[in-house]
């Protein structure tokens, strides 16, 4: 029970911070969701880092290192490449958002393409992609609470408790709470991951080199990518896809609005990649667990980090690890919930009722929070996927927004609203069909070379997306210009 008590202290502390952050702030929709655009380098860094270090990094990355080996290294790479892209991508987005006082990601598309309908579509794609991501956080919460209670709390109840805590937290605090808890979370997770990642290999094997040698001896070929399936081609395409999708998440896109100026992003692009190295220690824990707590398979590999912790440390420390893990689910989970609620309220509901006031929208957004939480809870209780496969699915979906976004940043109008919509619909449909039927590139086109067969299916969806976008844009631009040459917006 010591462990659970300590986890509860973490929960109470984060709630306290959320309440404190709210005091004295006028909470209109802009305050609640983008913090009044007043955050400097450190706060934006924390918010964006807060989004990145989720239960996925903590449990999913160690789980994949444990269950799959080298393919897990993709997690180390994609965010780092996304920061490279962010140097050029985020400043124009931020500038435009500030000029037009935008709150959510779909506002951006509404404004750029002069189409509220397209904004509604973007909001829906975003929310659909966020659900697996949110499910992942809830499952993570469940795993943490149930393992660190040494089985006293069943995983199902643990997920329910976690969902309630998350919903309360979001309703109470808005983004200010997220930023403060992000600070607490970063310190806690950094300490925990470094301690585990350094201590466990030393304690059990005498060092990192010795540990890898033993893993290689026990499971040959585990530490390299495979020659087919999860091959280098899979690796490169998955890293690229995830890097492109990285800032397409409504909450990440939206969190970038909260920066004070555009230089914040350029400077963050220098430091954020180094922060990724924390993952290295998460991998070490996963590899150590292969030999110390063998036998976990399927989605149970996500338990590896916590299992090796309970096997190696006294209950109070298990509580600290669980508490840190709780924060890794709470902070990103709150951003996810808040963004999906804002998206639906502002860009889908207002579409149906254009007359509704900002106060109405804000109230609706807050009411939607528990609804979305309940939907995610349903999937969390009923699905059996591992954390990484949930994330990969979310990424494949959300990346479908990238082509239209990129095209909208060009000085001339390259893509029409119909073209953008067609691309997104085709791309998302392709991802859903592929995910539900379990198709791979190899099974669709068996005659191709192995490297092409191993490509991440999200890449194929992205290619279809671009093709549809270009074709429909070409067709609709011609009609638009012949009908009304002056209607092209600048």
């Amino acid at each position: 029970m010591t462990a659970l008590a300590i986890i509860f202290v973490f929960l109470a502390a984060s709630m306290g911070l959320g309440l404190r952050a709210r005091r004295g702030k006028d909470m209109d929709l802009e305050q609640w969701s983008v913090g009044g655009r007043g955050f400097g380098t450190i706060f934006v860094f924390l918010l964006l880092a807060g989004e990145i270090y989720t239960t996925f990094t903590f449990l999913g990355a160690s789980g994949w290192a444990y269950g799959k080996g080298a393919p897990a290294f993709y997690i180390l790479c994609y965010a780092s490449l996304a920061y490279v892209i962010s140097y050029w991508l985020l400043p124009p987005i931020w500038r435009y958002a500030k000029e037009h006082r935008l709150v959510s990601q779909s506002d951006f598309f509404v404004s750029k393409f002069q189409s509220p309908l397209l904004g509604g579509l973007v909001a829906l794609v975003g929310v659909v992609a966020m659900v697996p991501y949110l499910v992942l956080q809830l499952k993570g919460l469940g795993i943490i609470v149930s393992v660190s209670s040494y089985g006293h709390v069943s995983p199902h109840w643990a997920i329910v408790i976690g969902t309630v805590a998350l919903t309360l937290y979001v309703t109470v605090s808005g983004i200010h709470g997220s930023a403060w808890t992000a600070l607490l979370k970063d310190i806690a997770i950094l300490a925990v991951v470094l301690i585990l990642g350094i201590y466990l290999p030393l304690h059990y094997f005498g060092g990192i080199g010795a540990m890898f040698h033993q893993v290689d001896a026990a499971q040959p070929h585990f530490l390299t990518l495979h020659s087919s399936g999860m091959s280098p081609a899979w690796f490169a395409s998955t890293v690229l896809l995830s890097a492109l999708g990285f800032y397409m998440w409504p909450h990440t896109f939206g969190a970038s609005y909260s920066a004070q100026n555009e230089r914040v992003f350029r400077r963050n692009a220098i430091f954020m990649p180094l922060y990724q190295l924390v993952l290295l220690f998460v991998f070490f824990v996963g590899f150590a667990a292969i030999l110390v707590v063998p036998g976990l398979t399927g989605s149970d590999t996500d338990l590896s980090l916590l299992r090796i912790t309970t096997a190696s440390f006294p209950p109070w420390f298990v509580g600290v690890v669980g508490g840190a893990g709780l924060l890794t689910a709470l902070v990103p989970g709150s951003l996810l919930l808040m963004s999906s609620a804002t998206c639906l309220a502002k860009n889908v509901y207002q579409l149906a009722r254009p007359a509704s006031s900002d106060a109405d929208t804000a109230r609706l957004a807050k009411r939607l929070v528990p609804v979305i939480a309940l939907i995610s809870l349903y999937f969390a209780l009923n699905g059996g996927s591992s954390l990484v496969s949930l994330l990969l699915m979310g990424y494949a979906l959300v990346t479908q927004l990238f082509p239209a976004l990129l095209a909208s940043l060009a000085p001339r109008q390259l893509v029409t609203k119909q073209g953008a919509a067609a691309g997104m619909i085709v791309g998302v449909a392709a991802v859903i069909v592929v995910t539900l039927t379990g198709t791979s590139v190899g099974s669709l086109l068996p005659g191709l070379p192995q490297a092409v067969k191993d490509l991440n299916v999200g890449v194929i969806a992205l290619i279809l997306n671009c093709a549809a976008m270009a074709a429909v844009s070409a067709a609709t631009r011609r009609t638009t210009t012949t009908l009304s040459p002056a209607s092209v917006s600048v």
């Binding site: 009044g36 655009r37 007043g38 400097g40 380098t41 080298a70 290294f73 180390l76 790479c77 780092s80 490449l81 920061y83 490279v84 140097y87 050029w88 400043p91 500030k98 060092g207 990192i208 080199g209 010795a210 540990m211 890898f212 040698h213 290689d216 530490l223 390299t224 990518l225 280098p232 690796f235 490169a236 890293v239 690229l240 004070q260 100026n261 230089r263 350029r266 400077r267 692009a269 220098i270 430091f271 990649p273 180094l274 990724q276 190295l277 290295l280 991998f283």
Partner: protein, 75 residues
């Protein structure tokens, strides 16, 4: 697009193309299998690359010294 921006391509080549050649366990470097070492070194190089780009990019050279944040209050 200044030519210094082209430096931003290097990390993509290093990771996305490099992985085809770095997919091996030996030699171990700093205790890590070669593939892991290769990716770690590229993460560090990304940071270095972005620092160089930040330094040389005229967009970051305003009248303010780099340490000072321009105070913008928008509320």
């Amino acid at each position: 697009m200044k030519s210094v921006h082209l430096l931003g391509v290097a990390p993509f080549v290093g990771i996305l193309v490099g992985i085809f050649f770095a997919n091996r366990v030996t030699p171990y470097v700093l205790g890590m299998p070669f593939i892991l070492f290769w990716l770690v070194i590229w993460v560090v190089l990304i940071s270095v690359t972005m620092a160089v780009i930040y330094r040389l990019d005229p967009a970051n050279r305003s009248t303010l010294p780099e340490s000072a944040q321009p105070e913008e209050h928008t509320s």
